[in-house]
Amino acid sequence: MSTLAHVFEAEGIATIALGSIRKQIESSAPPRGLWCDFPLGRPLGKPGDPEFQHRVLDAAFSLLNATEPILVEFDESIPDRGDTVLTCPLPPRHDPDAHPAIDEARGLLPAYVRGVKMSDGRFSAGRVVAADDIPAAIEAFIRVSGGTPWAEAGIPGLPMRVSHDIRSYYETAALAMVDHAPAAWASTRWFLDQTETGKVMMAARQAMQDQDAPQPMWFYLTPGDR
């Protein structure tokens, strides 16, 4: 992003770059930078909080008064200690013959549809796997976790992209089941650690690593610290 700041300034446009990673914004040194210690994915800090967002913008636009390159730290941090998980009940078992993850995903479809409507589809599934096909995509990862070679398991696209749609499906469904903006990463942790499909994805990731799949194929199935 700082590259764009340098380029745009050279073309005669004044810029203010918001940065979430201190070392990155320090090393890339945009002409006017505001380091905001906010979670990745939330450069304005707090969803649904216009007053807070305006505070960030006020701080950003104040940098236009500078007469030389400047980097400033926003005066409030939003720490994430990795311990907040969304509390969100999962649908009861409906089809005892189905794998628990498949049954779960099917049961979440109504919530997913509501979540898409609430969020205008901003983070929805369907980029490579349509919502109706999410259970089939999960089935492929179940096969991988059970020992089927990953390239022969019927994953309907690049594993990273398919897993992105599966995660988005779950997190969009979760959005419809809570009445507030989730804390950063809370719905991701809920998905990975508390749902049957999350367990499948973690197991499939490990299986792919054990199968010596190319690193990008398994590594990007989940956030990088997993």
């Binding site: 090393s27 945009p30 994915g41 969803p47 990795g82 990463w185 610290d225």
Partner: protein, 161 residues
């Protein structure tokens, strides 16, 4: 399934800071000279948002992995979706409130109050998760800047994801 609050887990899971640590050392482009443009007074300036969150309208091409191009986002529309191919960001904030990443509603409010001159009719989105930034530096970056200059944009707010 009804209303539910977040809970604090008693076990250690991933933390945002861990993911930042994984990415903070990625090399960027270095610039020997820092260009620095003095804008007109903010109250007279036209302001655009340029985001690296890979936003696009649903009827535009999604971003490919390593896509160094940009998408033009109409300010008059509000149907922005993310095309960011990375598991390493929280998507729920943007899903709940687009202004968490792309604060065009906030800019409208600033324009109504006369704090900024006007909001640009069009904004831009790039894909931020690039390992090689040379194409953006040499090609799509200058092209996007010229596009916005031709729209009369004076100030750009850059937002990551």
């Amino acid at each position: 399934m009804g209303v539910h609050q977040s809970a604090t887990a008693s076990f250690a899971l991933m933390a945002d800071s861990d993911i930042k640590t994984l990415t903070e050392a990625l090399p960027g482009e270095s610039f020997e000279v820092t260009a620095f443009t003095t804008p007109p007074p903010l109250a007279d300036a036209t302001v655009a948002v340029v985001t690296t969150a890979s936003l696009h309208h649903p009827d535009q091409d999604d971003f490919e992995v390593m896509d160094t191009g940009y998408r033009v986002l109409d300010d008059s529309r509000r149907d922005y979706v993310t095309g960011h191919w990375s598991p390493n960001f929280d998507g729920s904030g943007f899903a709940y409130d687009m202004n968490t990443v792309f604060p065009v509603d906030r800019l409208d409010e600033l324009a109504d109050r006369g704090v900024i001159g006007r909001v640009a009719d069009q904004h831009l989105a790039y894909a931020g998760n690039q390992f090689d930034l040379s194409a953006i530096r040499m090609d799509s970056g200058p092209a996007g800047a010229k596009f916005l200059r031709n729209q009369g944009v004076d100030v750009v707010l850059l937002t990551p994801v």
